[in-house]
Amino acid sequence: MGLKALDYETLNENVKKVQYAVRGELYLRASELQKEGKKIIFTNVGNPHALGQKPLTFPRQVVALCQAPFLLDDPNVGLLFPADAIARAKHYLSLTSGGLGAYSDSRGIPGVRKEVAEFIERRDGYPSDPELIFLTDGASKGVMQILNCIIRGEGDGILVPVPQYPLYSATISLLGGSLVPYYLEETANWGLDVNNLRESVAQARFKGITVRAMVIINPGNPTGQCLSEANLREIINFCYQENLVLLGDEVYQQNIYQDERPFISARKVLMDMGPPISKEVQLVSFHTVSKGYWGECGQRGGYFEMTNLPPQTVDEIYKIASIALSPNVPAQIFMGLMVNPLKPGDISYEQFVRESQGILESLRRRARIMTDGFNSCKNVVCNFTEGAMYSFPQIRLPPKAMEAAKQAGKVPDVFYCLKLLEATGISTVPGSGFGQKEGVFHLRTTILPAEEDMPAIMSSFKKFNDEFMDQYEDNWNHSRM
């Protein structure tokens, strides 16, 4: 009998360590139940189109024309496509190296990167260099590329917020690095306290870890908080003092649901702080077409912008990008369209604004509906979703429930979420998938279900939760007697 080529035992250990709860146990169970015919509401991942959000019309028109350029030669194309979509398609086709089917420059189409730089300049008021902007197959790939550059071994630590989006923990595991957690303060609306940062770094260094980088997710995922300008200044100062590269995950920058803290990019604050800090602190900023009001997750389009990285390092990052040849071209066009939107006077402008505003205003309403809905439930406390796409309520599980979870061999929030799923079809992600303080439990859901479905979903949740709490609290009372 031949030897077994690849057994579980002989797998790369780092792969085994990886966890990614967003598509883990709960999602797999939900998929099973769906196959059995149960109606499932997937709120496990920020995937707007899967929950009924419609794609914006204009970008789809443009990309369809780019896919099938023979349409542009057809005299009847104007019957189906407006003139500005046709013009835009020609514009983007002219920027490619031979249409959508040719590998582009490994960093992305130069013309699109220029549009991204112009967007950044308009947004922040400081010039941006297209040569330092790389387009990627989704922001996640960009994060992986940069972390791969930084992490040499387990001696290298990356500061990551807790709770965090588990791309970071998973990638750090895969690359064999060390995650250095800094805790966000739930009672202070998931605020970031620099003292927490200092303690985390000190502890890591005591263990012999070289802390190399700090991740901020702004607006936060799963927590939704928007960082204030003062906060960003503190963070940048901290990175300057501690010699850390700042990784700014800003994929939700268009998802802001309150007016007290509008989005400010890390780059803008860095530049505002002037030299020497503005010239020395290293920063990589990430963005995507998957979120905002575009929600084009399936395209896999993103970029990262590098600030203050030495040219030789940029060359090395370029080299690694070139092994993957190029990011997918259709998504690059989506990115161009996103950063270079329609203007008043364009034929499609009004429809575009109507569609965009519609989505954003509804998200804002849904953020409120969900927060209030959770806060009306027994033993549930929920911070307001200031931004991003999620709600992260804290579920205060009675001791009897935790006991039952233990009996079932499950972490308490996994136990709760499985029961929630089985009772209501609502598929969430347990807080343990994101990290939380020990003994405190949460779940993450999205604010993405259609607005008209929200009341029913929230009341379904409340019914389940309150019955669950009654069941496990009553038992406890009984045992007391």
Partner: protein, 531 residues
Amino acid sequence: MRRFVIGSARSLIERSRQNYQFQRPLLSSSYRLLSSTPAVDSPSSSSSTMAPPVALNTINPKVIECEYAVRGEIVTLAQKLQEEINTKPDAHPFEEILYCNIGNPQSLGQHPITFFREVLALCDHPTILDKSETQGLFSADSIERAWKILDQIPGRATGAYSHSQGIKGLRDTIAAGIEARDGFPADPNDIFLTDGASPAVHMMMQLLIRSEKDGILCPIPQYPLYSASIALHGGTLVPYYLDEATGWGLEVSQLKKQLETSRSMGITVRALVVINPGNPTGQVLAEENQKAIVEFCKQEGLVLLADEVYQENVYVPEKKFHSFKKVSRSMGYGEKDLSLVSFQSVSKGYYGECGKRGGYMEVTGFGADVREQIYKVASVNLCSNISGQILASLVMSPPKVGDESYESYSAERDGILSSLARRAKTLEDAFNKLEGVTCNKAEGAMYLFPRIDLPEKAIKAAEAEKKAPDAYYCQRLLTATGIVVVPGSGFGQVPGTWHFRCTILPQEEKIPAIVTRLTDFHKSFMDEFRG
């Protein structure tokens, strides 16, 4: 709202400290390019006394180590020359740069397959499917196929993340296509759709490589994705040499020899990479050869990584593509006998859709626990791009006889393939006429890999410029003619031999001019350096 009382920060840090068992880092000799920072940083040191966190001497040394010549130095020079021509058209003795370095057909004028683009456009903008005008602009079967595909996508939402292996209905189509091709069944659950074949290769290297003690057998010459990926993942490339004298033949005896040598050096060889048809070498394996390879992997407990992205590019009537899946099944080997990963892509063939980043791997012969891990790694990236997934399903299930688009589709396909075959022959003949150059036939794929006997004088000139001799030749060729090819050292070659890789992709009408320019350059180069 009830107030939540938290523990003090100190106790939280205590708890988090208990979760991590750390040792002090290993001695600095294990990090080849360690920064100048000491192992334990003092918190208040200013940045001016330390190397910045992301500088050349502080980044991951594996990043520094890995190389990818296809888009390397020669291309950078080509781009520079291109810019010079753009500003000053007579800056150089040629009007345009001819990129023969990369398998990127549509950048050199190859047209996409109309039917595929019709379906993709409709899936990108499904709103128009309901409009009557669409009937006049699109073929009826492309409309039908678009509907079929959209019905396989939950909510018809082409902008949503899909299942991490790819949309189920599309995997069903691909599995059916594999079965139609091979005559043996394929399971849609074995298919992982990826952003091109390259990410799938990376995924497998990630799973297989635990340390530099893990080796992967790779052909020399090879497509440098493999060497780069192995370097990035910290493994060891175990070379096996293809035999140029026998048309780049793959001898199992050579595999055995290399396997034994590496084992004796303490390397655990985990997998065998076979590229069929070959890149850069273009050979198509004979079925008997493939059987011997399958047998070898089975006996030695190696995972067979079958890069089959050029499966539709076969130019000689005496050879046919046989997938390794088919070959192993025809030998009676199933899931329990052989671990096989087969890679396919939308970038090559006659469709050449490089920019779409579509591809898949078919994974057979692994236990459920391993497959779970593969799924898990795939899920961290959520999914591959949907348009690429759709295209992969179209490539594996193109129009059939009787379909409205079949005739135009097959005319386009055959036109491209026959043109590729002609260009392969024309360039092969041209290379073989050059002094000191021999070129094996390109039986398949998209490249020619001629060998040049460089005169001693040329080799010395190269050394004087601190360049590999083949890189020197390629640079001289570029600056004289504008033709960009990749030096053989980028792919690996028997030491002391020199090659370059040239694609067969420039449009047919440009080929005569390329041949002339190349021939003239080569003559004058040899005149300059002949001994």
